[in-house]
Amino acid sequence: MSRLQRLAIVVAVAMLATGAVLIVIPSGGSARASSSSPSPAAKSHATTTHQSTGIVACPSPYTKGFHKAPANVPPGCPGPCPALSVSTPATMGGLVVGREDPCGDFQSSNTTRALDAVALFSVREPTQLLIATLEVGRFSPAAPLGDTGFRDGVISQIGQTTPQALWLEGHPVYATSSPGLTLICWFKGRYLFVLAVRNNYDQPKSILRDALKVNP
């Protein structure tokens, strides 16, 4: 089974045209099918099928003037999707962290993305059941990170509910949800972190604690 098959990332190419942040999350559908003791079938399904939240499109006023995506695309990436080098702990919340291909189906001719590099990690049980994903994106130099309107615009487009601000270790994080998932995002320097956790997993805060320690 290829890496791409294991982690199918669906990207809404049309939205990329406006400048976009890629958000990838585990499937809410397979989480819904699981129980407190997930059946082997459910686990298998969960490890092989993933679903993307899609795209967080940046507010159009801010996408203008972004630098063009680099022409030299790393090998394995079918489009202008430079992978980002990020060091993570071996485990988060006691679960195994694995590096995933952030590019997947990432194909776009868009040249004004807010993010110019991304990294993607999976957080799995020893059985390979996918519990969470952590995506790290680096904002392009032109992204106006000092503008709270820009940041609010990014946050407001993640998830399907109004973001709730939380203070953890002296830093704000923003929690929202989409069906079957809890999404938490935060900024660190020029980087955006998005953690997506199954909303029926009972140790999400432990994963989040460890994810907060990740530094690009």
């Binding site: 989480a31 203070w167 002296g170 199954r198 140790q203 604690r209």
Partner: protein
């Protein structure tokens, strides 16, 4: 010309002072920013609420929005301790009477699961305050709590999103620990619902200040006090038309009786005083609470209008709460709350108790994610 202008300004100032209509700027954003800044800090504080002849005290230590410790005592007697550290929650009950209303059943052993499990999707997190939850809980859990043992649930606080419906508890005092934990957030929410001019700096010289309406202490040197809804104004009673619905709508809700003082030093909240007091509002001129109730055909004793505000207050309190109950509005709980912060910004270590009984705490004083959650 200059002289005429000076006279005009002086006359306007005097008129403003005489009528109590001195200009009030909108300090809500400023005070809310200070409250939110304080919420971001690690903090230790004491929350003390006096109501109905009892005093409840909650000592709180908050490391961040996922980690806190709260100890609750009533009239000096310890009631319950609670520790939340990320996904885990631990509870120790000192007063078994608190458990009397909790329904047990369903399972004969503590239904705990190993940390790191995927819960069935129909597992709901009961919410609703510091009272018996909606879920029938394990008799074994209750038995351990009745013995005064610490019970720890490794996933007893796993929800990250705060339930939107719990931004303010329906009845103050029903969940003392929740009230204490959310004191800053609730004050922020309360201020958001107030009109322009409802938050002003304490200024005993200002035309809008009435000493007889102020139940709060003066600020210490170096501390700025902001008054919140110290003298609210209801829409004129004469503007209410004759329809029964309009007359009932002219009766103020419980929040009308609430006022607060926020004490700020070095840009953070160091103290809060809160008062819900009917007699204070009855002293306000032109509010006509008694007449409004009579307009809405709420039965009041004959001759109540001739009583002093202090003697009217318990009667009005009773009549209002009956009215609120009929209309499913939040109850009015007369109270005086004192909150004193310390150790602001000083990191505190929240640790779970040693050797607790491991069991599910679902349905035991379970309020979901309590801190944070603002937009």
């Amino acid at each position: 010309m200059k002289r005429a202008l000076s006279l005009l300004v002086a006359a306007a100032s005097v008129l403003g002072m005489l009528t109590g209509c001195a200009t009030k700027l909108d300090y809500r954003p400023q005070v809310q920013a200070i409250i939110r800044h304080t919420e971001a800090l690690a903090r230790t504080y004491t929350y003390k609420m006096s109501s109905g002849g009892h005093t409840s005290t909650v000592n709180v230590e908050i490391a961040d929005d996922f980690r806190y410790l709260a100890t609750y005592a009533r009239d000096g007697s310890p009631e319950v301790d609670e520790i939340v550290r990320d996904d885990a929650r631990a509870v120790q009950v000192h007063d078994p009477a608190l458990l009397a209303s909790i329904k047990t059943g369903g399972q004969t052993t503590a239904p705990t699961t190993a940390a790191g499990t995927v819960k069935p999707l129909d597992a709901t997190v009961p919410v609703g305050g510091f009272v018996a939850g909606k879920t029938a809980v394990s008799p074994a859990t209750v038995a351990s709590l009745q013995k005064g043992q610490w019970v720890e649930d490794s996933s007893g606080s796993y929800t990250i999103l705060r339930p939107a419906s719990l931004s303010r508890p329906p009845t103050p005092g029903a969940d003392q620990v929740g009230d204490a934990l959310k004191v800053l957030a609730d004050l922020d929410t309360y201020i958001s619902g107030l009109p322009d001019g409802a938050v002003v700096p304490f200024n005993p010289e200002a035309g809008y200040y009435f000493k007889a309406l102020d139940p709060f202490p003066r600020p210490a040197a170096g501390t700025q006090r902001y008054d919140v809804s110290l003298s609210p104004q209801l829409p004129g009673r004469s503007a209410v038309d004759d329809s029964p619905g309009q007359r009932q709508a002219a009766i103020p809700l419980a929040d009308y009786f609430l006022s607060a003082a926020v004490y700020v030093r070095n840009g953070v909240v160091v103290s809060i005083r809160e008062s819900a007091n009917v007699a204070l509002r009855l002293r306000l001129p032109d509010q006509d609470i008694v007449a409004r109730l009579q307009d809405a055909l709420v039965k009041l004793p004959a001759g109540i209008s001739s009583l002093s505000p202090e003697r009217q207050a318990p009667i009005i309190d009773q009549a209002l709460n009956k009215f609120y109950a009929q209309h499913q509005d939040p109850a009015l709980v007369q109270r005086y709350v004192v909150v004193d912060f310390s150790q602001l910004g000083v990191q505190t270590s929240i640790t779970l108790p040693a050797s607790p009984v491991q069991a599910s705490l679902a349905g035991i004083f379970d309020r979901g994610q309590t801190l944070g959650g603002g937009s």
